[in-house]
Symmetry: C2
């Protein structure tokens, strides 16, 4: 029941709440990657990606290490894969539920 713990959980989810950050975490599941590659895969402004990477770094979910002029990012925990997998499962259920509603609306229309 401690409020600060709910606060921490909420911050964690907010940290995940951006399409580019999700994309980065998914790419890092296959192993560490230099910024250059993330940039090529995602295709947004470098400074915008940098800002999102900074959010991930601050949370501790990824680490950045410099190797010459390139910076390599990596996940700090293997559990991230599991988190994304469970998320897919829950999301599948939610979207299925929404499509059911859509189908019901369609049926009303036909009546």
């Amino acid at each position: 029941m401690p409020l600060p713990l709910h606060q921490a959980k909420a911050e964690f989810f907010r940290m995940l709440g951006h399409p580019v950050r999700i994309r980065v975490l998914e790419l890092l599941q296959d192993g560490p990657r230099p910024v250059r590659e993330l940039l090529a895969d995602i295709g947004i402004e470098a400074s915008s990606l940098s800002a999102q990477l900074a959010v991930l770094r601050r949370s501790g979910i990824v680490t950045a290490t410099r190797d010459g002029t390139t910076v390599v990012y990596a996940l700090t925990s293997d559990d991230v894969a599991e988190l994304l997998s469970v998320t897919r499962k829950v999301l599948t259920g939610l979207l299925a539920g929404q499509n059911e509603l859509l189908a019901m609306l369609r049926d009303e229309e036909r009546a």
Copy 2:
């Protein structure tokens, strides 16, 4: 690699990104609850709770059913418990990592 899917995942996490909403989901894990009880447990303004419940409803992760003058909320999916459980695991790792840094700072101080 579809962008709209990352968008959907990000929206899902943003939906979870509020302490009151996390609290509500945790309370609903033990079964459906009337607003009155949620209100008593959480202890915020009724209108503020209502706004957060509306966010959860809109996402489809909970349902609201009216029974007389009371409205009862329930989870739509059992998988939410698993999601929260994996989150606890990842968060445990992150916070442990931060405490390690804290410990290192303390050690530097002593040197």
